[in-house]
């Protein structure tokens, strides 16, 4: 079995910049009014792992946590 990856978002920390939703729209969306992150896929397929790690890095407010297992 390939290594899994779990994504969590902290909507309180989210500053609604939307870099995650623009970078990995399959995994993240934004509330249309507040801009707050909406998690679409907590366990994205392995093809998206690298992009999701980048999203966590790009988030200006450290609102995305990626756990590898």
């Amino acid at each position: 079995m390939s290594a899994g990856l779990r994504v969590a978002v902290d909507t309180d920390a989210c500053c609604a910049m939307g870099r995650c939703a623009a970078t990995a729209p399959e995994v993240f969306d934004q509330d249309p009014d507040s801009g707050t992150v909406v998690l679409l896929l907590a366990e994205p397929p392995s093809a998206l792992h690298e992009t999701v790690r980048l999203c966590a890095e790009l988030c200006p407010c450290a609102a995305i946590t990626v756990t590898e297992n």
């Binding site: 910049m17 623009a22 450290a62």
Partner: protein
Amino acid sequence: MTYDAAIREGAAPPSYPMERVSPVDPPPQLAKLRSGRAASRITMWDGSQVRLVTAHPHVRSVLADRRFTAVTSAPGFPMMTRTSVLVRDQPHTASFIRMDDPDHSRLRSMLTREFLHGRAEAMRPVLRESLDGIMADLVARERPVDLVRGLTIPVPSRVIALLFGVSAESRELIENRAAVLIDRGYAPAQVAAARDELDGLLRDVVEERMREPGDDLVSRLVLDQVRPGNLTVEELVPMCRLLLVAGHGTTTSQASLSLLSLVTDQGLADSLAASLADGGELLPKAVEELLRFHSIVQNGLARAALEDVELDDVTIRAGEGVVVSLSAGNRDEAVFASPDTLDPHRDARRHLAFGHGIHQCLGQWLAKVEIEEMLSAVLRWMPGARLAVPFDELDFRHEVSSYGLGALPVTW
């Protein structure tokens, strides 16, 4: 003697900002400091000593850490210019860029939805139409044409006018004063006068919207925030000033330098022209790289430590000032291979040109749309555009906090 050894022997830390050697590269001294300790000492214009942070991971770390304050009146806060003192001594005029949370997020969140990615994209067609008008007029003129006066000043200016819903006439009045605020060439008293006049003009705009709301950002803030009592007019005026100062001069600077790259770098021009004929996928990627490469917030961002913070191999003490250099971080070879080469094909998304942390540029999507559209317009309307004066004669704006060009004469 190494830098650290020189400091140990009592040499005064180097004065900041440092001097550039090449006009399109950050001062070479920054690269030397980046290979040393996490935070070196520098001497500011007023003789004070603060810490300078130059490596990409350290810049990120300071900007994301709430133990570093953005409040100008905090003990030890670096005074970047002579006019920083003004902001420190008149805290009631501060906008939310000079606040920490929760004050900062209370005000910034009122603007979030105005600057969402989707909102910026929705402006693209309007912008393109406006740009086609501007370009049609420019190509009909006698060559050479100055792309700063002709394009990179008017475009952000029209965008601000759209957001604020102001006429061309008051737009010009407002911008003349806004330009003084970011120019080190003006004395503090002149800056203070310009800021007071600007605030007066913006207050007039706000009061007009209070009487007669329209379909613009200021009207929406009046209706959604001022009327229900969430926001005072005294808070709204500095907010409008911030949008203007942060959204106008910076976009002009970054667009001007991006266009300079376009008209002087044949490889870049060829790649972008080829891509444009084929869907234009390279353009947003190239714009990220141009943001990394030029990093127009040339002297970096100021913070002060609220408590002792360990930054890698250095302890920054409570009450110490810190300057983080975005341009040094963006040339960090540990993150960007061959950092001094402009490569539109690289993935430059980790750049720090918009800062990092809670204060990261709110208008970044809009800025990118504007710059993409300006590059695209020049490629379409002025194919083969090239510099019309020798490179050495270009007027680089060293005194302005957002580094840019006074003029960009081109022919095609």
